[in-house]
């Protein structure tokens, strides 16, 4: 029975998400979602959003891109596909943006978590952002770490 507790917890409240980032990232405890930072203020944030509409991965990534590039004026830098640690297909989008007069890099990866017996469909979003120079130095490692998201 004790062995089934984690499984039960996953089914009821969702498993806690993890990601294997480089050693100089510090994971923040007690935060909503998975948050990790570096001393030079690179930030990684993983969150899950309920998706009662059950949209497909293509739909969400296109909607996201239209909002970021079309509405907010982000400059697209690149895009690609990725699979997480569970083999789930995802897509990442990369942008250059201005935040409070400062140029920052921004990467967002989207995974669709299919609904389960006790849980509706969710969209898992992995975001990485930092000032331009910091971002440029770290983005490759973070992009590679997307494959470790679990």
């Amino acid at each position: 029975m004790r062995a089934l507790l984690p499984l039960l917890a996953c089914l009821l409240g969702g498993c806690s998400t993890t990601m294997q980032l480089p050693a100089d990232f510090l994971q923040l405890r007690g935060e909503s979602g998975f948050k990790s930072v570096t001393a030079d203020d690179a930030r990684v944030w993983i969150r899950e959003f309920a998706d009662p509409n059950e949209g497909k991965l293509e739909f969400w990534t296109e909607s996201l891109d239209r909002d970021l590039a079309g509405q907010r004026g982000y400059a697209p830098v690149g895009k690609g596909e990725v699979k997480d640690a569970d083999g789930r297909a995802g897509r990442w989008l990369e942008y250059s943006a201005n935040v409070r007069g400062e140029k920052v890099g921004y990467l967002i990866a989207v995974f669709v978590l299919d609904k389960s017996l006790l849980r509706q469909q969710h969209v898992r979003v992995v975001e990485f952002s930092a000032r331009e120079a910091v971002y440029a130095a770290r983005v490759a490692a973070v992009r590679a770490a997307l494959a470790t998201v679990h």
Binding site: K35, G73, A97, N98, E132
Partner: protein, 264 residues
């Protein structure tokens, strides 16, 4: 004697003050020799003047030689601007407007590099700086500047002043020779009226020589030191200020770089 003096002075000054048209470049020596009016004056009977005629071939070769060597010597003395081997004298100017995250930091960094290159800050107004730097470093500076931020606009120009510089050289030489000739005449003048007239022409010629020398120094300086104007603009809150229509999907409104910076 008075008429003779007047004619000589007038010819000397006229020849010294007349710029050499471009078409005369190929025959600069001949133009200069004729410019003194020595041929006609010589036939008019002045012994000392006809002696000048003997210099004509020499003068021609000297001037044509100097047309190349002038640039060489000036270039060496005033900043290695040009050589006598056909190298052009170009005035390099450039301007660039950049979008950078931190303008003050970018300006300080740029000025430090300019100093390393042997340049200096010419003027600064807010976030716009104008620097002078050795022409040889102009391309490097321009390329490095481009890397400092997002380029919003840029322009460069290279104004060829080789001909202007050589023209000034010829005019200067003519003026100097005329002045030397007037000094000779002054020594031979025995009437006060003649002496005053020559001295007046000498004064005008001296001013002309100083003016030409000043122009040449200015040109040589402009060639030796390029001018680069750089304007550093803070990254405009292009997307910050952009009017945004929220997404109909709430979670999309909850993600983004600005959310990452503010609500993380």
């Amino acid at each position: 004697m008075n008429r003779w003096f007047e004619a000589v002075c007038l010819c000397a000054v006229v020849s010294a003050c007349t710029s050499i048209p471009p078409s005369h470049h190929a025959t600069a020596g001949r133009a200069s020799a004729k410019g003194f009016g020595f041929t006609s004056l010589g036939s008019a009977g002045g012994d000392d003047i006809t002696n000048g005629l003997q210099d004509r071939p020499t003068l021609r070769s000297t001037v044509s030689h100097d047309r190349s060597s002038e640039a060489s010597s000036e270039g060496t003395a005033d900043g290695k601007a040009a050589t006598g081997t056909g190298e052009r004298m170009l005035i390099h100017r450039g301007a660039m407007t950049l979008e950078v995250a931190r303008p003050e930091e970018a300006i300080a960094q740029f000025l430090a590099r300019v100093q390393e290159w042997g340049g200096y800050l010419s003027s600064q107004q807010d976030q716009q700086v104008t620097v002078r730097l050795p022409a040889a470093k102009f391309e490097t500076a321009f390329a490095e500047l481009r890397q400092q931020g997002r380029v919003l606009s840029m322009s460069t120009s290279g104004n060829d002043v080789t001909k202007d510089f050589l023209d000034l050289g010829i005019r200067l030489e003519n003026a100097q020779k005329s002045r030397a000739r007037l000094l000779e005449l002054l020594q031979k003048a025995d009437e006060v009226e003649d002496m005053l007239k020559v001295e007046e022409q000498l004064r005008r010629l001296t001013e002309e020589i100083e003016r030409i020398e000043g122009e040449r120094r200015f040109l040589a300086d402009q060639v030796a030191m390029a001018t680069l104007a750089a304007k550093f603009q803070p990254i405009a809150a292009a997307n910050d200020e952009r009017r945004r229509e929220p997404s109909r999907f709430w979670w999309i409104n909850s993600v983004g770089a600005e959310i990452m910076r503010e609500d993380f």
